[in-house]
């Protein structure tokens, strides 16, 4: 307990305070230091910035679709991979690969697969008579592509954690239930799901916090476009800070995102606890 807290306090509190401080100041690029105090001016500008608000909306759409999809798919796949046979260890290891491919490379490979002219996906669709699809060029399809790539990349995480949770299920409880004549559906509903709730909840919250921060895949695969169709908020902040060198407004945006994330995370915690207590 102790060492973890000290480390976290030292390495996290200082940066957070620093960010809030920068968000309330002008940033001097020559000395790379915050200079004059400007109060809430950065925040006013940021909250009136349509680009920022749009990126929040884009992030919301992505989260609402991608997270449930990855959770359901991940747990379903974990059950499939749990069936005992010789090759399951190999499959589990291979399943980790999408997480390991560097984002730049993964984004590039997917761009190639989805390319409207010479991509393999459109080639395969063409064979069955589906005309060239503008995967990256069309705003809606670009979002579909982003969610597809993100789901490919992070469902393996849910599989990894779900597999461990399923492995830890105590078999004797199942034997007892079956001896009492419980059917498969009742076992799933009254034993498996309640026992897995803590692991499902933990996996969801960890994935949620990872997804909120996602920007590398968006940068590598769609560059936020077309227009702002896939411009997730962290990509927008990144562009403002490191391309536009507007560290003041980038910091204010980061603080706003931090606040929103904290509030939603708090409600997720409450929901998790209620679920854990209910079963």
């Amino acid at each position: 307990m102790g060492p973890a807290l000290v480390l976290l306090a030292g390495m996290l509190l200082y940066p957070i305070i620093y960010t809030v401080w920068v968000s309330l100041s002008d940033f001097d690029l020559a000395t790379f230091q915050p200079s004059g105090w400007v109060g809430l001016r950065n925040y006013q500008a940021v909250l009136a910035d349509p680009g920022f608000l749009q990126s929040l909306k884009v992030t919301g759409v992505y989260l609402v679709i991608a997270l449930p999809l990855q959770m359901v798919l991940g747990f379903a796949l974990a059950f499939l991979l749990n069936v005992e046979w010789r090759g399951r260890g190999l499959l589990r290891a291979l399943f980790l690969i999408p997480m390991v491919v560097a984002p730049v490379v993964a984004g590039g490979v997917w761009r190639m697969l989805l390319d409207p002219l010479w991509g393999v996906v459109n080639y395969a669709l063409g064979l069955v008579g589906v005309g060239p699809v503008e995967w990256i060029g069309d705003p809606t399809l670009a979002m579909v592509s982003l969610i597809l790539i993100d789901t490919w990349r992070w469902t393996p995480f849910v599989v990894l954690i779900a597999s461990a949770g399923i492995l830890a299920l105590p078999t004797d409880v199942y034997e007892a239930a079956r001896a009492d004549g419980a059917g498969r559906w009742r076992i799933l509903r009254h034993i498996t799901i309640p026992l897995l709730v803590p692991v499902v909840a933990a996996a969801f919250v960890v994935r949620w916090l990872g997804a909120v921060k996602m920007f590398d895949i968006a940068l590598a695969a769609t560059k936020g476009g077309p227009g702002q169709a896939t411009d997730v908020v962290n990509l927008y902040i990144y562009e403002k800070g490191f391309r536009g060198l507007e560290f003041g407004s980038a910091s204010s945006m980061a603080t706003v995102v931090l606040l929103i994330t904290m509030i939603i995370t708090y409600f997720l915690f409450r929901l998790t606890r209620r679920l854990e207590n209910r079963w």
Partner: protein, 277 residues
């Protein structure tokens, strides 16, 4: 677990193999690109191979110093994963078992620290590291990674510990173990699948992390993702998709080998039957 008929079993295995193939398709595509000559990469319609080449593996291997960077990545990933696992698993255990006032709040705060956008953390970390003269050192990168790994470890391990019955360590403590003994002799072996999965996740996160490594290193401690970003930024030679795919393949291999090596610990928890009788 749930017993299924012979047919259901075959269907499940078939489904598992099919799902793995679907998920691996982009990786196989990457593997094929890594052996292609440039003129085969962009063709209409997509073409398999007109000739095989190893150029992609050799061209950047020395220039981007892949081997030393691979070693750096191993050191940084292993160091940060081990520190995080030790600190995080113990904290997770405390938070799952101790009837402390505010344990839930502490657990929530630890995890909520992950809500901070990394971009907001990296600039101050760089400034601190520079003031302490610790830029481009393993320890700086390791500590930075520990800050983002520990919350995940705490949160995941807390969930795994919670799914173990408390009778386990109560029995051990009646038999004369103290808290620490019960934790290391009973709880750790019983939650091995959870520990191994969380460790794999930590290694992977540290392995592919780019932003912190990019800002906190510049030469000695540079990791593979930074080297890859370097190759990707080298637009002078046009699209370097062949070499990028090759480096991508090389970075995936060690993690897959590691995962296969630890698979044997990802077995049925030892808690099975421990609460019987």
């Amino acid at each position: 677990m749930v017993s299924t008929g012979r047919l259901g079993r075959a269907a499940a295995i078939g489904g598992a193999i099919l799902a793995t193939l679907v998920f691996l398709f982009p990786v196989l595509y990457m593997l094929s690109i890594s052996f292609k000559v440039p003129r085969d990469i962009f063709t209409v319609p997509p073409r398999w191979f007109s000739e095989l080449t190893l150029d992609n593996y050799t061209s950047y291997f020395n220039q981007a110093r892949i081997l030393p960077r691979m070693l750096n990545t191993v050191i940084v990933a292993a160091g940060s994963a081990i520190i995080s696992m030790v600190a995080g698993a113990m904290a997770g255990y405390a938070l799952s078992r101790m009837r402390m006032r505010g344990a839930g709040v502490v657990a929530g705060l630890i995890l909520a620290s992950r809500a901070v956008p990394p971009i907001a953390l990296v600039v101050p970390m760089f400034l601190v590291a520079r003031r302490l003269g610790l830029t481009d050192q393993y320890i700086t990168v390791i500590l930075a990674y520990v800050t983002f790994l520990v919350p995940y470890v705490v949160w995941l391990m807390r969930a795994f510990f919670r799914s173990l019955p408390p009778e386990l360590e109560e029995a051990a403590m009646i038999d004369g173990c103290n808290r620490f003994g019960a934790f290391f002799r009973i709880i750790v072996p019983c939650s091995l699948p959870g520990l191994v999965s969380t460790l794999i996740y930590c290694i992977i996160l540290a392995w592919e992390e780019l932003l912190f490594a990019l800002i906190l290193t510049n030469d000695k401690a540079v990791t593979i993702p930074v080297a890859i970003a370097g190759i990707a930024a080298d637009t002078e030679h046009g699209g370097l998709w062949g070499p990028l795919a090759a480096v991508g393949v090389l970075t995936v291999l060690p993690v897959v080998i590691f995962a296969l090596a630890v698979q044997k610990y990802l077995v049925k928890g030892l808690a099975d039957g421990a609460t019987k009788g």
